[in-house]
Amino acid sequence: MLTKMTHISINVLDQDSAFDFYTNKLGFKVVVDVPMGADGRWLTVSPPDQPGFEIILTPVIRSMYSKETSETLRELIVKGSFGVGIFTCKDIFATYEELKAKGVEFTKPPTKEFYGTEAIFKDDSGNWFSLAQLT
């Protein structure tokens, strides 16, 4: 029987830039950061209140991807094809103002929905996420 999700991989265009975005802008904590030679780093981060859930920041150029796959992935990410997930926060207006002040790009400002208030932002690669304050 499955129980929990512990890791998820997000493809990013540039690992160093993603590192800066997820730690300095979103405030995530680095869990593992191990150099992997030509493959960059094995780099995982966690949302501040969820240390058991690791997001693997996977560069699109990596041994497990063919050149063609890397290029296709890059194109799709830049186009904004991937909605990766939903993050929740305690106060969406404060979080929205803070992230905007840090230069995070929002494609939807806080908007009332039937389940709470939601905004949409993009990471530095182009992956998009929902930011929600659930009521």
Partner: protein, 164 residues
């Protein structure tokens, strides 16, 4: 009536960016938080922050705590300890770390660090050094096997050593 058949959540679907309640209050509190994030290492006078935010000190502390769950002072301490953990991870000695994040006394730094992190800064530093040594000697112990295999890293377990 057709209108009455539209679910409430659809009729209420209003964008509220500029109209949300007390946006100016949010902006001032967020600015104060960002000020602490940027200046934690200095001798920040929290009274000045509430002055700059145009609030009475009491009102400011209450609003800040509502949003961030901590008073500005508690938040400042949390930022300093968090930054201290990063510096210790990068192998900075405990006393250098203490002063670099804005504490003036080593004993109060160690006490607060232990209260928040659960271990003293010296023990934390030693733990991080051990982890670093392990990363260097056997990096793949930090990577789930499935990903290591997919990337072909298992065939080349010693690539770290050969690289450096």
């Amino acid at each position: 009536m057709l209108g009455s058949e539209i679910p409430v959540f659809m009729t209420n679907r209003n964008t509220i960016t500029e109209q949300y309640p007390k946006i100016y209050l949010y902006r001032r509190i967020v600015q104060a938080k960002l000020f602490i994030d940027a200046n934690y290492a200095d001798n920040i006078d929290l009274d000045n922050i509430s002055d700059e935010a145009y609030f009475s000190k009491f009102h400011f502390i209450r609003l800040f705590k509502n949003i961030y769950g901590k008073t500005p002072h508690q938040y400042l301490i949390a930022v300093r300890i968090d930054r201290a953990m990063q510096l210790l991870k990068s192998d900075k000695p405990v006393s250098d770390t203490c002063y670099a994040v804005g504490f003036e006394s080593l004993s109060s730094f160690s006490g607060l660090f232990k209260r928040i992190v659960g271990i003293t800064p010296s023990i934390y530093l030693m733990q991080q050094q051990k982890i670093k040594a392990q990363i260097k000697s056997s990096p793949l112990t930090f990577v789930p096997g499935c990903f290591a295999e997919k990337n072909g890293w298992l065939k080349n377990r010693n690539f770290r050593e050969t690289k450096s």
